[in-house]
C-alpha cells in the first residue's frame, strides 16, 4: 500500500495552532524577498537521504527512500491532497456504488509514459495482476486480494468489483501504476526484480529518471509533459549520506537543501543566525507513535489493573520533555490527534504514583518482605523491557520508565537487541515480557492487523496477543463500511476500549523536523505535511543557485 508507506515517512502532516507545534519560519528579515520572487523554472534541489534506495519499482520495495523517489517518477490513480482528501491523479474521476461494492474509474486521456507511449486502462489491469501474481515479491498484495473482478470497459474506463465493502478500496488505487509494454514478460517469468525498469524506470510522473549510482546518488529531471504541468524545479538530486552527523555538516555548509533534523539539532544547534537565514524549519507530528507494549500471555500483564497502574506511573510529558526536548505530543491511542478518526474523549491516565500503587495493591501486588519491590505469591514484580539497538530515543525512554516503575515498587531491566534478532528471536516467538517500539500509522484508520485477535500468529502483527471481542467487532465494522461518519462511530468507540484496556501504553507522537533551503518558495504546510505539492515548489530566478539544467 504505497500511500501507507509514504505516509509514514514522507507525507507528514503539519497541524497549525497546536501547543508548541506551530511552524517556525526562521530568518524573518528575509520575509520581504520571500514574497517578492515570482515562480520560475530551473535550479537543482538537493535532498539528503540516509539510506540508499532498494530499487526503482517501488511496488516491490518497502523502504522510505525508494518510495520517496518512486513517488516522483510514478503516479497512482488517486492521491491525497493537502487536507488529506483523496483526489484524482491518473484517474480523472471515479464513482463508488451506493453499496460500496463497485468502483468505476475514468482515466485521464492525455497521459503518456516517459517513453511516449499512452497510458491506458490496460496498464492499470496489468499493475493489478502484477500485484496479485504469486511470483511478484511484494509486501502490498493484501490490499488487492479484496478485489473480486476487474473489467476494462474501454481504454479509459475500468470497473472494479468487491465481494464485500472494503473501506480502503479507493486508497488502494494510490499504488504506483506500472508500464505493461515494458514489464509484461518479466512479470510472467517471475523476474520483475531483474527488469531494466528496476534500474532505469519509465513512469508517468512529474520527474524523469536520469541516473542511479548505487550508494551515491539518484538524479531526476522535470518532466515537461506531466499532466499536472511542468514542475518548477528542473532537477532533483538525492544524495545518499549514511551518517546523520555528515548530513548535518552538509546542511551547515549549504550542501543539501532538504533534510530532517534531530530534536537537539532543532532546538540547540541550529539557532544561530546564518543557519536561520539559510533554511526554513518546519515542525509537525509524524505518523508514528512510540509505545510500551506487554506480552498479554503473561498472567501478570493480563490483569488490566496492572497495565492501568503502569499508565499512571509513567509521566508522558516528562518523556516528551526529557527525550524529545518537548518536540512531540502525548498519545492517548493509536490515532494522531487532529485527524478525523481521532477521539479526544477517552479515559486518560494522568501521572499519579499513589493511584498506581493502589491499583497494583488491588491486583494483589504488595511489598510483604519490605525490600521495596512488590511481590505476590512470593514472586517479586520484576521484568525486562526489550528495545532495538541503535535507537537512542527508545533507550532513554526505557531508562526513564525504569526509574518511574521503580518508584512504585516494580523492578525493570532493559535489554537492547539488534533489530533483526529482536524481531525474529523475541517478538515473533513471543519471548518477551515488555517492549518499547513504534508503530507507523496510515492515513486510513483501519488497524485490523495490529489489534484484531485473529492476527496474533507468529508472522502477524498483533505481537502482544491482544484479544478483546468488542475491539474485534469494532475493527470488523470499521473496515466494512465506506461511509466516513459510520466508520468514525466505530473507531471512536474502539479508542475508548483501547484506552480503558491499555493493551500497550501509548506514549507519544514525535515531531518531524525537516528543514528546507530558504531560497525555495511555494511550500505550504498543511495537514498533509509539506511535500504534497513538491511540483509547485520553485526558486525565484535571482536566487537560483545551480544555474545548469
Amino acid at each position: 500500500m504505497n500511500l501507507r508507506v509514504r505516509d509514514l515517512f514522507f507525507l507528514l502532516a503539519f497541524l497549525p495552532g497546536l501547543s508548541g507545534c506551530g511552524v517556525k519560519v526562521e530568518g524573518k528579515d528575509d520575509g520581504q524577498s520571500r514574497a517578492a520572487g515570482s515562480p520560475a523554472y530551473g535550479d537543482t534541489f538537493i535532498e539528503a537521504s540516509i539510506g540508499d534506495i532498494q530499487g526503482l519499482i517501488p511496488n516491490i520495495t518497502s523502504d522510505s527512500a525508494s518510495h520517496e523517489v518512486g513517488g516522483l517518477i510514478y503516479d497512482g490513480l488517486v492521491k491525497r491532497d493537502k487536507d488529506l482528501n483523496i483526489v484524482g491523479s491518473l484517474a480523472e474521476s471515479w464513482q463508488l456504488s451506493r453499496d460500496c461494492l463497485t468502483l468505476t474509474f475514468k482515466l485521464r486521456k492525455n497521459v503518456q509514459w516517459h517513453d511516449g507511449r499512452p497510458f491506458t486502462a490496460e496498464d492499470v489491469r496489468f499493475t493489478y495482476e502484477t500485484m496479485l501474481d504469486p511470483k511478484t515479491p511484494t509486501a502490498y498484495r493484501e490490499d488487492f486480494l479484496a478485489v473480486t473482478r476487474l473489467a476494462v470497459l474501454d481504454p479509459y474506463t475500468l470497473r472494479i468489483g468487491y465481494s464485500k465493502p472494503y473501506a480502503q478500496a479507493l486508497e488502494t488505487w494510490g499504488m504506483y501504476m506500472l508500464p505493461k509494454h515494458l514489464l509484461a514478460s518479466y512479470v510472467h517469468e517471475g523476474r520483475l526484480r531483474e527488469a531494466p525498469q528496476n534500474r532505469r524506470p519509465i513512469g508517468t510522473g512529474a520527474y524523469r529518471f536520469v541516473e542511479w549510482k548505487s550508494g551515491e546518488r539518484v538524479v531526476l529531471v522535470a518532466n515537461p509533459e506531466h499532466f499536472e504541468g511542468r514542475p518548477y524545479l528542473s532537477r532533483v538530486v538525492y544524495r545518499i549520506i549514511p551518517s546523520q552527523a555528515t548530513i548535518f555538516l552538509e546542511l551547515k555548509a549549504k550542501g543539501v537543501d532538504f533534510a530532517g533534523l534531530t530534536a537537539i539539532q532543532y532546538t540547540r544547534q541550529t539557532t544561530y543566525r546564518a543557519f536561520e537565514k539559510a533554511y526554513v524549519k518546519y515542525q509537525y507530528p509524524s505518523n508514528a507513535y512510540t509505545y510500551l507494549g506487554f506480552n498479554l500471555k503473561d498472567p501478570r500483564f493480563a490483569d488490566r489493573r496492572v497495565r492501568q497502574a503502569f499508565a499512571h506511573a509513567i509521566n508522558k510529558q516528562e518523556l516528551i520533555d526529557g527525550v524529545l526536548l518537548g518536540l512531540g505530543r502525548e498519545a492517548t491511542g493509536p490515532y494522531k490527534p487532529e485527524t478525523w478518526a481521532y477521539n479526544p474523549d477517552v479515559p486518560r491516565f494522568p501521572y499519579d504514583p499513589d493511584r498506581a500503587r493502589r491499583l497494583l495493591a488491588e491486583a494483589g501486588w504488595k511489598d510483604t518482605d519490605g525490600d521495596g519491590i512488590l511481590d505476590k505469591d512470593g514472586q517479586p514484580f520484576a521484568f525486562t523491557i526489550l528495545t532495538n539497538q541503535g535507537n537512542e530515543e527508545r533507550k532513554k525512554v526505557a531508562e526513564i520508565i525504569q526509574q518511574r516503575l521503580r518508584e512504585i515498587g516494580v523492578a525493570v531491566e532493559i535489554r537492547t537487541l539488534e533489530w533483526a534478532s529482536l524481531i525474529k528471536e523475541f517478538i515473533k516467538k513471543r519471548r518477551f515480557e515488555a517492549i518499547i517500539l513504534g508503530w507507523g500509522i496510515g492515513l486510513d484508520p483501519d488497524q485490523y492487523e495490529v489489534w484484531h485477535s485473529s492476527k496474533a500468529g507468529p508472522d502477524e502483527l498483533n505481537h502482544i496477543s491482544y484479544a478483546n471481542p468488542e475491539a474485534d467487532r469494532l475493527l470488523e465494522l470499521g473496515r466494512a463500511s465506506c461511509v466516513r461518519e459510520q466508520r468514525k462511530k466505530h473507531y471512536d468507540r474502539l479508542q475508548e476500549v483501547l484506552a480503558e484496556d491499555q493493551p500497550v501504553i501509548f506514549l507519544y507522537f514525535r515531531d518531524a523536523l525537516p528543514v528546507v533551503s530558504s531560497r525555495v518558495r511555494g511550500i505550504e504546510p498543511s495537514p498533509n505535511g509539506i511535500s504534497y505539492n513538491f511540483i509547485r515548489w520553485y526558486v525565484p530566478k535571482e536566487r537560483q543557485r545551480y544555474t545548469a539544467g
Binding site: 509486501a139 534500474r199 550508494g215 555538516l249 555548509a253 533489530w419
Partner: protein, 330 residues
C-alpha cells in the same frame, strides 16, 4: 619452486571450501532472515502468506545443506547469484560497482603511507631519541589514539564548513555533469582529499613504527658495522645496506594487507558518504543479503589465500636461505 607453488595452490582449495562452509553456516545462524526485513517494516501490511512466498522465492524454505550445495555448485560455475535486495542485481555487478572507488582510495592511501612512513621510520631510527624521534613518537601515539570518525568530522568542520575549501562528503558535486572535462576531474579529486588524509593518518602511525623498529634492529647488525668500517658514507650505509634489509618485514606486512585493499573502511566510507565495499558489506549484513555477504567473503578469503601464497613464494625469492631450505625439501 614451481612444484612447491602448485602444491600450495592445490592445498588452498579445500581450505577455501572450508572457509565458505563455515561462513555460510555462521551467517545463516544469525537470527533474522531477509524476507522479514523486507516485509517486516512495522506499519506495512505483510501477511504470513507474503512472507512464505518470499521465503520460497529465495529458496530459504530448503534445509541449510541443500541451500549450501546449490550455492556451491553455482559458485563452481563462477555464478555468484543475485542479491536478495529488491534491486535483484547480480552479486558480481554489485561488487563491481563498489570495488573501483575502494581500490582507488586504498591504493593511493597505501602509496602515501609508504612514501611517508619509510622516511619517518628511517629518520627516527637513525636519530634515535633525537627531537625528531620524540616528536614522531608523540605523533604516532596521537595517530593510534585518534578515532577515524572524530578526526574526519573535525576536518570536515574546518575545511568544509568554516573555510569552505573542500567538499564535505560524496564523490561529485550535484552539478558535476555540467562541468568541463578538467573541472570534473578536479571536482572528483577534491572530494577525495579529506577521506585520503583521514585514512592515511590512521595507517601512517602503525607503519612508521614498524619501519623504525625494523631499522633499529638492522643498524645494530654486524654487517652494518662492516660497511661503516670499510669507509662507506653514512648515506650509502643506511640507504643501501640497512634500508634494503629493514624493508623486508615491512614488505611482508604490505603483502598481508592486500585483501584489506578491497575491504574498504566502513567508518571512513560512511562518514564521507563514499559508496565503497565497506558500506556494501555492512548493508548486506544488516539486511541479511546472504548472496552478497557470501560473494564478498569468497573474494576476500581467496585474496587472503593468494596473498599468503605470494608472501611465502616471495620470501623464497628474496631470501636465499629460505630458497635453499625449500629446495632441499621438495
Amino acid at each position: 619452486m614451481i612444484p612447491y607453488a602448485l602444491r600450495r595452490v592445490v592445498l588452498a582449495i579445500p581450505l577455501l571450501i572450508g572457509i565458505t562452509f563455515i561462513s555460510f553456516l555462521v551467517i545463516h545462524l544469525a537470527p533474522g532472515e531477509p524476507v522479514e526485513l523486507q516485509t517486516g517494516d512495522l506499519g506495512v501490511k505483510s501477511s504470513a502468506q507474503s512472507i512464505e512466498s518470499l521465503r520460497k522465492l529465495y529458496g530459504l524454505d530448503q534445509p541449510l545443506y541443500v541451500q549450501y550445495w546449490s550455492w556451491v555448485t553455482r559458485l563452481a560455475r563462477l555464478d555468484f547469484g543475485r542479491s536478495f535486495a529488491p534491486d535483484g542485481k547480480p552479486v558480481l555487478q554489485k561488487i563491481g560497482e563498489r570495488l573501483p572507488i575502494t581500490l582507488f582510495l586504498n591504493i593511493i592511501e597505501m602509496l602515501l603511507i609508504l612514501a611517508l612512513a619509510v622516511p619517518i621510520g628511517v629518520l627516527s631510527a637513525t636519530r634515535q631519541y633525537s627531537v625528531f624521534d620524540k616528536i614522531t613518537t608523540v605523533f604516532v601515539f596521537v595517530g593510534f589514539a585518534t578515532p577515524d570518525f572524530w578526526l574526519a568530522l573535525l576536518l570536515m568542520i574546518l575545511f568544509g564548513v568554516q573555510l569552505g575549501w573542500l567538499p564535505i562528503s560524496g564523490l561529485r558535486s550535484p552539478t558535476w555533469e555540467f562541468l568541463s572535462f578538467w573541472r570534473q576531474h578536479w571536482d572528483f579529486l577534491s572530494h577525495l582529499v579529506l577521506p585520503i588524509v583521514v585514512a592515511t593518518f590512521g595507517g601512517l602511525a602503525g607503519f612508521s613504527r614498524y619501519m623504525r623498529q625494523s631499522m633499529l634492529e638492522v643498524v645494530r647488525q654486524e654487517y652494518i658495522q662492516t660497511a661503516r668500517a670499510k669507509g662507506l658514507s653514512e648515506q650509502a650505509v643506511i640507504g643501501k645496506h640497512a634500508l634494503r634489509n629493514a624493508l623486508l618485514p615491512v614488505v611482508t606486512i604490505l603483502g598481508l594487507s592486500l585483501p584489506g585493499l578491497i575491504g574498504g573502511s566502513v567508518i571512513v566510507e560512511s562518514v564521507f558518504a563514499i559508496p565503497g565495499m565497506g558500506q556494501l558489506m555492512v548493508q548486506a549484513v544488516f539486511s541479511r543479503d546472504y548472496p552478497v555477504i557470501m560473494g564478498n567473503l569468497v573474494i576476500v578469503s581467496t585474496l587472503t589465500l593468494v596473498a599468503n601464497l605470494l608472501a611465502d613464494i616471495s620470501y623464497g625469492l628474496v631470501d636465499p636461505r629460505i630458497r635453499v631450505g625449500r629446495r632441499g625439501r621438495s
